[in-house]
Amino acid sequence: MSEAAAIPAELAEASSARLTWLRFKRHRLALWAAGFLLVSYIVVGLCEFFAPYDPNWRNPRAIFAPPQEIHFFDHEGNFHLRPFVYGYELNINPETWVREYTEDPSRRYPLKFFSVGQEYEFWNLFNANLHLVTVEDGQYMHLFGTDALGRDIFSRVIYGGRVSMSLGLIGVVLTLFLGILFGGLAGYLGGWVDSLVQRAIEVIQSIPTLPLWMAMSAALPPHWSPIGIYFGLTVILSFIMWTGLAREVRGRFLAMRKEDFVVAARLLGASQMRIIFKHMLPSFTSHIITIATLAIPGMILAETALSFLGIGLRPPVVSWGVLLQQAQNYQVIVLTPWLLIPGLFVILVVIAFNLVGDGMRDAADPYGGRH
């Protein structure tokens, strides 16, 4: 437990960022979670490439089709180096009215990697048709199955991720901006500004979040374009979320105003701006980042909740909330559970953000790492 003895020479000279990183690394789960999030953002960032299909493309031959299995061995037991899926054979059971899909061994669809498939417009910039994995024209591949209209859930999860995960990110940037601005002003200036901001925070925090969101998003004009609704929602979510951050920032500023290094800077004639941005903010950046990280999953969940209530994003926009809204159906749970796969990704991403946030908090905490 003796600390002085335990610190190796290299640590004694390490920068504070490096120290934080070293501490963060000790939270193994957080490390994995960070890796997972990184990969997720890459995938949704390049979703046109990673998704085999357009999210609204329908395969009329596969309504409520279950996920296809990826095979290496065919029905005769022969090994194929290139993995493949089998085409479906559809039979509507006249007794149960259930669409029953079986693998048709005569139709083997080999997967093609880095290959040409459905054409898409990348980030609305240029047209391309390269996909990570696809099948021949006229064949199909639904790794997560399809929905009521025959749309590929795998592709929809990826495209939906782009909307939901970016919504969280943009929302948090806005939250950060508002939180630091108001929290900083209140904490640094004090006086009536402080009281005003404090009251505002109190008011916003006293209104139950979801009903407030509901009321605000019901007020979004219905004729807005999907993009407009998207940004409208982001603003609404941030409007409520900034208060927590502002409180934190204010507290820090208040405490720090009297710290030696701030007093010293002021005496040396540094401008207020310089004091705030050069001296005060950096000293608790890691805390801000932690709070921000923990706010993102809240936004993602809020989006799903609003979409579920039918007052969030709407088709043809594909978000995880929209996907879950269509899956929140009793029949889905009983007969077509693969429609719930988007929910799995919501859970994974939310947990990952929380773990990363926890890891960062521990890492930024000067008392951390005692045990």
Partner: protein, 643 residues
């Protein structure tokens, strides 16, 4: 590849003709297609009552059965067998007035939903010019509070509600232009300005609460009681006006008494936020073929549920005895699964809709550019030709519906096959050509068409998602429209908003289900084909309707084609000559086939009717729809719970 398509096509073609649109009449007891017999005609002299009522008679709370039944009660033949008394049936509140507790109109409808049969009105006569309709009542029918049903209760609706400026600020035809005259306690007469040979259709299908317990309701009507005191009472009860108070009592919209008495099989006693409670009407005036007073079931409990998923779950797990109104076609597999695990039976009834979706562009919307677009028949034809109805039938209806244009049902005398085929094929190329022809092309290269002047063309379709697979159908429809380059958006609205926005002429386009396509309702309510109605079903041509209603004083003068349409209909409801009527009806329908005033998708689809194992006597087949008042014609009073 080709094999797959082949298999797929086999399935499509093999199921497409297995539609249950026409039900053979021998699916029901013969007596359900004839005027109901009475006890004396069947030599029934001994009557019995439910044990629960017997106890109340013995305690002196109720008069004996003989005093409660009419002299000559109506006899209903049960579907399968004589039932057992007792039990509480469980239903959803949305089913409560359409299924087990269906209400009693003036006249009723036969099981095949094609003709009008006697009910409380036992006999009627038209004068030769069809201007006077004289009706004779069954004697001795009583309200559930024991008072007598008389002709007063039949003229009250017209005299004190339809013509009362406070209850009905704007009286509408035919009620506006007629007289009602009580002849004696058991007969009365309606006198019309113009011949009205089809008024019996209105009376046979009339929705609930149109026979008014006048003696009871007078105490809540300003014409019969102290106005100031009545308003005071209404205020105290929390209503903004005495009319609101009056209506809520009459239409059972209150949680507690006072609630109007009824002549139906069940009376609402009270409501909580979650449940409605009904008990049997001890004065019900129908008996079974062995003289047992109906209904068999003692009470009905209706769960008030908003969530469609909870309803689906409850129906599929056998927690209600009957579900028909909120059950969804897409959920057939779920209910079929419940047959194994929850002991329910899922019957396939036939939806009485010429099309489950009727798409109505608003021809009198405020926006001039949009009007111009809608009025161009090429636009409407393009909308219709872009829809892949076969695919919709497979995806939504398991291939068991009938892809068709909106028009009357095949069993109708007004039907021609070409009406159903008009522009109902899938021709996306042709649709694109038509739009391009109009100058509606993609000018800014975003893949979506613009107005001819270059502005973004975005349309919002607003609708209420209930009764039939509207949401999923419209999701497909806008996907098809997007494929031909039209940017349409969907917005689901709440019932209250549908009501106010549709009648307020605020919707760009709305969707309803095309019921009123049987011979009962098409002639009198051709909502989808002729501008004659304002209501939540339509945001179609409101200003034209107002113009016709106000004899050209309000609203807007419609184009000549529309005036012609309306003239056909005006003559159609006047003419006593059936051949001429059919000719005019066909003119109207032909006009729709040529001009597509309304656009349809798939009709005559299967309706899942979920019945618990213990509920008996429910027919295995039936027509489900507004035209025949859902289960009304299948005599729910004869259904029983096996004890």
């Amino acid at each position: 590849m080709t094999r797959l398509i082949l298999i797929f096509h086999l399935i499509v073609t093999s199921t497409a003709y297995v539609s249950a649109s026409e039900i053979p009449t021998d699916s029901w007891p013969v007596s359900w297609s004839e005027p109901a017999k009475t006890a004396s005609e069947l030599n029934l002299t001994v009557f019995r009552q439910a044990p629960s009522l017997k106890a109340r008679v013995e305690s002196g709370e109720l008069p004996p059965l003989a005093k409660r039944l009419p002299n000559d009660p109506v006899v209903l033949e049960p579907f399968d067998r004589i039932g057992q008394y007792g039990g509480t049936a469980r239903v959803f509140h949305s089913d409560s007035l359409w299924s087990i507790n269906s209400t009693e109109p003036f006249m009723t409808i036969d099981a095949a939903a094609g003709q009008i049969l006697p009910n409380v009105v036992k006999r009627w006569e038209y004068s030769d010019d069809s201007k006077v309709l004289t009706m004779y009542l069954r004697r001795g029918v009583k309200w559930s509070d024991g008072s007598d049903l008389t002709a007063d209760d039949f003229v009250f609706l017209h005299q004190h509600m339809m013509l009362n400026k406070e209850i009905t600020p704007v009286p509408y035809p035919p009620w506006r232009d007629m007289k009602s005259i009580k002849l004696d306690d058991y007969s009365f007469r309606f006198e019309f300005e113009k011949p009205s040979p089809l008024f019996i259709n209105t009376l046979g299908q009339l929705s609930d609460f149109f026979i008014i317990p006048s003696r009871f309701m007078r105490q809540f009507h300003a014409d019969f009681t102290d106005r100031e005191k009545l308003i005071e009472r209404a205020r105290e009860a929390g209503y903004i006006s005495w009319m609101a108070y009056f209506n809520s009592i009459l239409r059972w919209q209150r949680n507690d008494p006072p609630l109007a008495p009824t002549i139906s099989a069940y009376q609402l006693t009270h409501k909580t936020p979650t449940t409605e409670y009904y008990v049997r009407n001890p004065y019900y005036w129908k008996v079974d073929t062995e003289g047992n007073q109906l209904p068999y079931i003692d009470a009905v409990r209706a769960d008030i549920i908003e969530s469609a998923e909870v309803m689906a779950a409850k129906a599929a797990t056998g927690q209600v005895d009957f579900a028909g109104f909120p059950t969804r076609t897409q959920d057939f597999p779920l209910y079929k699964l419940g047959e194994k695990s929850a002991g329910i039976t899922t019957l396939q009834w036939s939806r009485m809709t010429g099309s489950d979706i009727v798409i109505m562009p608003n021809f009198t919307i405020e926006d001039d550019r949009l009007r111009k677009l809608y009025w161009d028949s090429r636009f409407r034809k393009a909308l219709s030709l872009a829809i892949n109805r076969d695919e919709m039938n497979n995806i939504i209806y398991f291939g068991r519906g009938v892809p068709r244009q909106v028009t009357v049902n095949p069993s109708s005398v007004y039907f021609e096959p070409e009406f159903a085929r008009a522009y109902a094929d899938y021709h996306p190329e042709r649709a694109r050509e038509l739009l391009t022809d109009m100058g509606v092309v993609d000018l800014d290269g975003d893949g979506l068409r613009n107005y001819p002047d270059g502005d973004e063309l975005v349309l919002t379709v607003e609708f209420l998602d209930s009764e039939g697979p509207k949401a999923i159908s419209m999701e497909l429809v806008i996907a098809y429209w997007r494929e031909v380059g039209l940017d349409m958006r969907l917005k689901l609205v709440d019932p209250a908003l549908q009501q106010s926005r549709a009648t307020g002429n605020l919707m760009q386009m709305t969707v309803w289900h095309a019921d009123r396509t049987s011979d009962i309702l098409f002639p009198i309510e051709p909502f989808w084909f002729v501008p004659m109605h304002l209501g939540w079903e339509e945001a179609h041509w409101n200003l034209w309707v107002t113009w016709f209603r106000s004899d050209g004083e309000e609203g807007e003068q419609p184009p000549d084609e529309i005036i012609q349409l309306r003239e056909w209909w005006d003559e159609m409801i006047l003419t006593p000559n059936p051949a001429r009527r059919i000719e005019l009806g066909k003119n109207i329908l032909r006009s729709n086939a040529e001009n597509l005033w309304s656009i349809g998708t798939v009709g005559l689809g299967p309706q899942p009717i979920v019945v618990s194992k213990r509920l008996k006597n429910v027919p295995t087949q039936g027509y489900w729809g507004w035209d025949n008042r859902f289960a009304m014609t299948y005599h729910p009073a004869t259904w029983y719970l096996e004890q």
